[in-house]
């Protein structure tokens, strides 16, 4: 029988009472922020092991932080990917475009054009730099904050907006939550709202590629909070058991809605260190350093392509904005965190690097930002011609019943007929979107 709530805690006699530890972040709203205990290491000082190295030879890399860009805005050390200026400018443009896109879509949600949106502000490098290090036909299994992957892969912005607005141009027929894109043509897997489910799927895809003797690899992205899901651990097990050509990217942006990373175990060890128990190669990387992100992903991709095994990479970054348009971070974390985040802003750091090496300037950057904003604005207008969420029924009724199965079984046929009868009752024979 349960003990009454008012009974004093047990313990007593000579035995000390046990105590439960409930993690608490270091600051809450209104608190000053102190990141001084964060050991971010010096850029360029981390060794770059051979891509075929055994995981046991690189355990330090799971606890440190691979960094390339220094305070001097120069690239340092063995992880410098030595990218040419054009590639760096392309990377910067994708990042600026992603930010402009996020701004416009966030506003669109506030204006009631869609139900929901998620920004990736502060995390752009973890999607864009990483996907630029992959081949365009490598398969990606993203989570919900990797819009940068689609932008880097040249997926048309209008398709993204059509999906966000669930309008008649939406290739997903208005079935998915906004931002849950899918593009087979761009080797971009359909996004799930259930967390970490994409991780074993990425491993399975990579296993299939290896079974077929294909040369394509798979990569997946998951938030640090979702590494607590069983799926993530199944993915690690399968990846290591079959030496699957897969990269498991963990985006440690410090916050899972209002729960800080401590609730996924960050107080005890790093997320990269989870690799060690599985015998996976593990890297912990400055996620706001686009060059480090690119270099680490390329290292892991080369490793996978050479059949040397999977890699788990933790990108240490910061979610500068709320979790989504439904979230208000001022309710649970100090506003100063964003300002004082010691790894800076990924767009600014890459911009400063390009300026430092004489390949960019503030004027061109400002012009690029304006161009991106203008392009997004114009594309949004185009997309709005296809409709916005909640204004009309954009998809024909029959599409609701398509694709549940390959063929329509009798019970869905009957239900489709019922939906049609209801439509006629509501809207008449000439109603919308028959």
């Amino acid at each position: 029988m349960a003990e009454p709530a008012d009974k004093p805690p047990r313990g007593g006699d000579n035995r000390p009472a046990l105590a439960l530890h409930v993690p608490e972040p270091k600051s809450r709203p209104g608190d000053p922020v102190d990141f001084s205990d964060l050991d971010i290491g010096e850029p360029g000082k981390q060794p770059r092991p051979d891509e075929g190295a055994h995981p046991s030879e690189m355990t330090d890399l799971a606890y440190g932080l691979v960094r390339v860009l220094g305070e001097d805005n120069k690239a340092h050390g063995p992880w410098d990917p030595k990218l040419d200026p054009d590639t760096l400018r392309t990377m910067l443009r994708h990042m600026a475009m992603t930010r402009a896109f996020d701004e416009r879509m966030f506003r669109g949600q506030r204006q009631g054009k869609t139900s929901f949106y998620m920004k990736c502000t502060g995390e752009e490098a973890t999607s864009i730099a990483t996907s630029m290090a992959l081949a365009s036909d490598d398969m990606v299994f993203p989570s919900y904050r990797q819009q940068g992957v689609l932008i880097a892969r040249g997926y048309p912005l209008i398709e993204m907006i059509n999906q966000i607005y669930s309008n008649k141009g939406d290739k997903l027929k208005g079935r998915q939550l906004p931002i849950m894109y899918s593009s087979r043509e761009h080797s971009f897997f359909s996004i799930s709202g259930n967390l970490a489910t994409q991780t074993p799927q990425a491993v399975g895809w990579a296993m299939a590629s290896a079974i077929r003797g294909d040369s394509r690899i798979a990569a997946t992205w998951v938030g640090e909070g979702s590494t607590a899901e069983g799926d993530f651990h199944s993915a690690c097990t399968f990846a290591t058991v079959y030496n699957a050509p897969v990269i498991l990217n963990v985006i440690n942006n410090q916050w899972a809605i209002s729960s800080f990373s401590g609730f996924a175990g960050a107080e005890r060890t790093t997320f990269a260190a989870r690799a060690l128990g599985y015998g996976l190669a593990g890297l912990r990387v400055d996620g706001n350093d686009a060059l480090a992100c690119y270099a680490s992903q390329l290292w892991a991709a080369n490793r996978a392509r050479a059949n040397k095994g999977p890699t788990l990479i933790e990108y240490f970054t910061y979610r500068a904005e709320g979790h989504s348009t439904s979230d208000d971070p001022s309710g649970y974390r100090s506003a100063q965190e964003r300002e004082e985040w010691p790894l800076g802003d990924p767009v600014k750091r890459l911009k400063d690097h390009l300026i430092e090496i004489g390949e960019w300037d503030e004027e061109r950057h400002a012009a690029m930002d304006r161009e991106c904003a203008e392009e997004v604005k114009e594309t949004t207008k185009e997309a709005e011609k296809n409709g916005i969420l909640g204004h009309g029924l954009h998809q024909p009724f029959r599409t609701m019943f398509e694709d549940v199965f390959e063929e329509l079984p009798w019970h869905l046929k009957e239900q489709a007929e019922q939906a049609t009868r209801e439509r006629i009752k509501k809207f008449g024979e000439k109603g919308p979107n028959r």
Binding site: M139, F141, K171, L172, K173, R175, Q176, M180, S182, S183, R184, F189, S190, S192, N194, T197, T199, P200, Q201, A202, V203, G204, W205, A206, M207, A208, S209, A210, I211, R212, A218, G230, D231, S234, A235, T237, F238, V241, E402, D403, V404, F405, E406, P409, W410, H411
Partner: protein
């Protein structure tokens, strides 16, 4: 049965194999015919599965086509979704249906909805095989019948064979199907049909007329029920082990029952169900799973909705009890001849 498959069955009517061998043959044929077919699961590789359904397949087809997996149902089904998205046709085995629950999210939220949510850009053409049901003293963790959980999910097909012939043809059809299929194998009848009289010896399939299985490829389309017995007095709807129990009871009682083996629960052969009930006017549903919200409830509702004016008695259900599966009292739990007999008497009296 199509004319073609019937002919094939008659030609090789002498060849009798059990359900395990029939499943093995189906997998063997599909591994041979289609390089995209992959068989995987706990112990299915070198050892050939705890029930021997995959015996010899790894040796014949190689260990990248047939292999063991970690003990992780979520992982097994999750990687199968990824393999399906790649273009393979994985046939994962969940060693016992009782262990499928850690993989439910991957089945329900992912495999079942992938086609829908991606507007058919990606599909998950997998067949999850799993032995299910009781009657082998497996206790509460090796005896469950969770089929109704899956019939409730949009986008999944649920298949349950009751003979070696059906097991082979249905499994081939399931593997060829482009939708995810749950293929539940009634392990009580792996080796022979079971009459429900637990104290009587089980007749092995090798001597049973329903176990004539042609060699080579044939398929039984999903969504078609099998007419087990023609009769006028009442309709009995059953699947899996319960087909044999119902058949034996009707025979012993001398009841002229119209017995339908549903074979697939989703898609259901509603036409066969309707035709039969409208003919007999009485309907008994028999399944082994627990009663509340079991598939019998769905069947009962369908029959009532569609055949109400033809019914001469209330629709009856014979099911397992709403308790966890008991180990030592298994035969008190199992829906056997007494329970079925009483229900038949009640229906016929009305």
């Amino acid at each position: 049965m199509s004319a073609e498959t019937k002919e094939a069955a008659e030609e090789t009517a002498e060849r009798r194999i059990n359900m395990i061998e029939a499943i093995n043959e189906a997998l063997d044929i599909m591994l041979e015919r289609d390089p995209d077919v992959i068989v995987m699961g706990e112990d299915v590789g070198y050892f050939g599965g705890v029930f021997r359904c995959t015996a010899g397949l790894q040796e014949k087809h190689g260990k990248t086509r047939v292999f063991d997996t970690p003990i992780s149902e979520c992982g097994i089904i999750g990687v199968a979704v990824g393999m399906g998205a790649y273009g393979l046709r994985p046939v994962p085995e969940i060693q016992f249906a009782d262990y499928i629950y850690p993989g439910l999210d991957q089945l329900i939220s992912e495999a079942a909805r992938l086609r829908y949510r991606s507007a058919a850009e990606y599909i998950a053409p997998m067949t999850v095989r799993s032995p299910f049901g009781g009657g082998i003293f497996g206790g509460q963790t090796h005896s469950q019948s969770p089929e109704s959980l899956f019939t409730h999910v949009s986008g999944l097909k649920t298949v349950i064979p009751s003979t070696p012939y059906d097991a082979k043809g249905l499994l081939i059809a399931a593997i060829e199907d482009n939708d995810p299929v749950i293929f539940f194998e009634p392990k009580r009848i792996y080796n022979g049909p079971f009459s429900g009289f637990y104290d009587r010896p089980v007749e092995p399939w090798k001597k049973h007329p329903q176990s004539a299985v042609p060699e080579g490829y044939y398929r039984i389309p999903l969504g078609q029920a099998r007419h087990v017995a023609e009769g006028d007095e009442l309709t009995i709807l059953a699947y899996g082990t319960m087909v044999h129990v119902a058949e034996a009871v009707a025979k012993e009682k001398g009841v002229d029952a119209d017995i339908l083996d549903l074979r697939t629960l989703v898609p259901l052969d509603i036409e066969a169900v309707e035709n039969s009930v409208k003919k007999t006017g009485k309907c008994l549903i028999v399944h082994e799973a627990t009663r509340t919200s079991g598939f019998g409830a769905e069947l009962s509702a369908l029959v009532t909705e569609r055949c109400f004016y033809h019914l001469e008695a209330p629709v009856e259900r014979v099911t397992g009890f709403d308790t966890p599966y008991p180990h030592s009292l298994e035969w008190a739990y199992f829906p056997g001849p007494v329970r079925i007999g009483e229900a038949i008497d009640k229906i016929l009296k009305d």
